[in-house]
Amino acid sequence: METTKELLFGKTLNELIQVASDLGLPRFTARQLTDWLYKKQIGSIAEMSNLSKSTRELLSEKFDFGTVPPTKVQVSVDGTRKYLFTTARHQFIETAMIPDDDRITVCVSSQVGCKMGCLFCMTAKQGFQGQLSAGEIVNQIRSIEETTTVSNIVYMGMGEPFDNLDEVLKSIEILTSDWGYGMSPRRITVSSIGIVPAMTRFLAESEAHLAISLHTPFDEQRKSLMPVQIAYPIAEVVEELRKYDFSGQRRVSFEYILFKGLNDTPIHVKELSRLLNGIKCRINLIRFHPVPGTPLVSPDEETITHFKNQLNDKGIFTSVRASRGQDIYAACGLLSTKEQNLKI
């Protein structure tokens, strides 16, 4: 979207109170604005019909409304949709909508590209191109067809949420506040590779669920899969998590992509059991969808099931995540990379 004006969408109530103050408008205007921005399906300042014409004109001089429609949609045979959004800097981000019985889960991106360099990740191949604002994150929920029926949100799209924590926390504030979307934080899960200081802050400042990308419990092996292991070893991540109580409503889970012959052995089961001992958590096993140039493959179904059963036998509740949208560039980063290449 071409704009030189500031955007209203993505501002918190406090920020809108400041906007009202700066423009000499009454304080209650901020509440009117949050209603229009986050509770009603309009797309322009001109449609804010309970604001006076002069107020709307004043706002329009300095601000744009700020929502952006997707530029492309792909629909899978299983109902999954992948939306492509263009950012203000003409970059591409992906959002997935995953229907499952009575649930509509939206998987949002938090950055354009990523700087974490994980071996198995397609988004990593784009490098890091920029941060998304809170407005750009929430817009991925607000501007899709299913916006009024979204039940769950996962921050598992492009980017590392804890490398853009300020905007991620702000987006969660908008999604969970009574003046915003009023969602329960228990319907939101933020997934991270485990940047410890940011994780600590997230746990203190948010009530959303946490998912940690684990993928192997062994230090040397994780270093070759995930460079972050050098700065923030998984043992340090888990040690930090031990300080928190996850026996209530707030959950911590561990994402574990299975790679054939690499991290799907009984030794891994044993070490996972040792590493996670004492933490109330669950493990989500994920089938690997190959990405170009990566020498990793998914194990067969029998191995996946056996691995799951072994972990469950060790007392760690483990499930296998259903693969969705495989016919529409399901692996995160594939669609936007394809679009980026077309642009070049």
Partner: protein, 223 residues
């Protein structure tokens, strides 16, 4: 590494002992070393305790009087413009060194771009460069920091790639182009990469494409 030692990442005030612009917009800031570290380790730094720290690789040797790091000045950044303006005696906040990017004496190639040379320079300054080859990629020839020292110390095992200038002293092109042009890469060697995420990913893909097992490749990324 004692990864669970929380004291390692606590920030403590130190006085800067030197802050030198070693190349346009690239600075080396130093403070007194107060303990041991392993070459390849990182420290967290902030100029203001209210701001989240950034992580930098140590570039000094482990027996030198000071600890030094390299940083690029990022226009509009929270830390680096301020850090660049600081001088000896000014206070910054740093963590103890931590991390485990070190390597042993086995055959290995170090591949870096820009300030990503820091951990490898630290290893060399610490005398740990047996069986090592260093490839350093930059845009302009004046970004080959420590060129004289490295040429003298590593000789033909110091390879310079310069993508935007060609003065005959170095390979004219990007690191990836240099690697692509090699007929074969030793597959039993280890490869250590440090630099921007995109460079790390591109080099890693290229090494894998040329037959290097992925588990022989270690990468340190810039946060």
């Amino acid at each position: 590494m004692q990864s669970t030692d929380k004291n390692k990442t606590e920030l403590k005030p130190v006085r800067i002992t030197g802050n030198e612009e070693i190349s346009p917009n690239v600075f080396m800031v130093s403070w007194k070393r107060e303990g041991d570290f392993n070459p390849g380790q990182v420290v967290k730094i902030t100029a203001d305790k209210q701001e989240p720290p950034r992580i930098y690789s140590i570039c000094s040797g482990n027996e030198e009087a000071d600890i030094s790091v390299l940083f690029n000045v990022k226009p509009g950044g929270v830390l680096t413009p301020r850090l660049a303006s600081m001088k000896a005696g000014d206070e910054i906040y740093v963590s103890q060194p931590y991390g485990n990017f070190g390597c042993d004496d086995s055959l290995a190639t170090w591949i870096s771009t820009g300030t990503g040379i820091a951990p490898f320079y630290s290893m060399i300054r610490s005398g740990r460069f047996k069986n090592k080859k260093l490839i350093h990629g930059v845009s302009h020839a004046n970004q080959f920091y420590f060129e004289d020292f490295l040429s003298k110390t590593l000789g033909e095992n110091y390879i310079r790639c310069c993508s935007r200038e060609n003065n005959g002293d170095h390979f004219p092109g990007r690191v990836t182009e240099y690697l692509l042009g090699l007929p074969e890469l030793p597959k039993a060697d280890k490869y250590y990469l440090c630099g921007q995420a995109l460079m790390v990913v591109e080099v890693r893909d290229l090494l894998i494409q040329k037959g290097v097992p992925y588990h022989h490749i270690y990468a340190e990324i810039f946060f």
